[in-house]
Symmetry: C2
Subunit: 220 residues, 2 copies
């Protein structure tokens, strides 16, 4: 499978631009845990995900974190190329949650392409609108949803992402980093979930015991 099958508007590019894109894009594979992009000064390029899973998050001065969005196969990451637009001014970190393979489209080439190709410019608009919608959703979650519902939703997402395993291998610290809270808060709520018979906790892992009730809680 080549880049042409993963880049949605490839067919709309001129033959010359298709050739340029294919020759300039670099395929790279990184192990789980790699930091791929770090902050507003960094400008790696557009990422086109071939396989794996990336996480984009922000951090506070005190080292707390919250996940902004995740990227999966066929997703495209624009904010790792923030230098293509002067008005993108925020510090985001992108790390690999699993071994991930992706193409990097150089920012200089993409910027130049976007400036002259109306299809590429509008496609970039769509990408940004999608991320904007996700970010608005996150704001609503943070503002109006109580923490038990957010945690229930996160656990189920992880459960489905990992293919419904017997136990989820994830620490309370890592969950806290996804949801923007402190480890103690996660531990307290998980213990409550356990008392209610929704999960079973063992060292370093969590078993989903009552998927239906967790789902009801998340949907409330």
């Amino acid at each position: 499978m080549s880049l042409s099958e993963y880049f949605p508007i490839y067919e709309k590019l001129s033959a010359k631009d298709q050739e340029m894109l294919t020759s300039l894009a670099q395929l790279r594979k990184v192990p789980q845990g790699s930091i791929i992009h770090n902050g507003g000064m960094d400008c790696l390029g557009l990422l086109v995900i071939r396989s794996g899973q990336l996480r984009s998050y922000i951090s506070s001065d005190e080292g707390r974190e919250i996940t902004i969005y995740r990227l999966f196969e066929r997703d495209i990451c624009l904010f790792s190329a923030s230098c293509i637009m002067q008005n993108i001014q925020f510090d985001i970190t992108i790390s690999a949650e699993k071994e991930t393979e992706f193409w990097i489209i150089p920012p200089k080439f993409y910027k130049e392409l976007m400036a002259r190709d109306v299809e590429v410019a509008n496609y970039t608009n769509d990408l940004m609108a999608t991320r904007f919608t996700e970010l608005m959703w996150l704001v609503e979650q943070i503002m109006w949803k109580s923490f038990d519902k957010r945690l229930a939703k996160f656990l189920l997402e992880e459960y489905y992402l990992e293919g419904e395993p017997e136990t989820l291998k994830i620490t309370h610290e890592i969950i806290a980093g996804h949801l923007g809270t402190a480890r103690e808060v996660v531990t307290r709520m998980l213990k409550y979930f356990q008392t209610e018979g929704m999960v079973k906790l063992t060292r370093g892992s969590i078993a989903i015991v009552d998927e239906v009730r967790l789902g009801d809680l998340a949907e409330e």
Copy 2:
């Protein structure tokens, strides 16, 4: 002053598009308190602000609110034309905080223009990137900043926006709606600010007594 002076890329349009834009755009004046746009189903068009002040916010099912951004003279509002992009999927309300005059650019015309004019498409990208940056800033504020700092910052912003008046005419309810919290929380913190000699409270208004200390608090 005509639309041509308020729409930043007017000069880059073809003579024909300039003429179409000018003839299709409608100038409208609304009184303070008007709801201009309400939710994702609504698609009024792009707004180009000639004078006044708009507020864009989201609401919870329980009627709590939080301000997402404000718009002033020469600002352009894209999300009142959410139908121009299918990936804009969220419900935002836009209301007039002061008497406001603006042009409405019809969404159908703008969408068609954006689809064929690379300058317009890239300009729209820049608009969205600006809002995205503001929204990221808001997430950081909500997540990492304590409420006293956010309130201090908001009071000073209002103070400067209103031209440093003797007293700010604003209710605790309205402040709560800007900052996404309950009225009681605002009242409690304002009373604490008063005890500390930073503000003086009277019915329906707030006097800024110690601008410097409020500023220090907001900057911390």
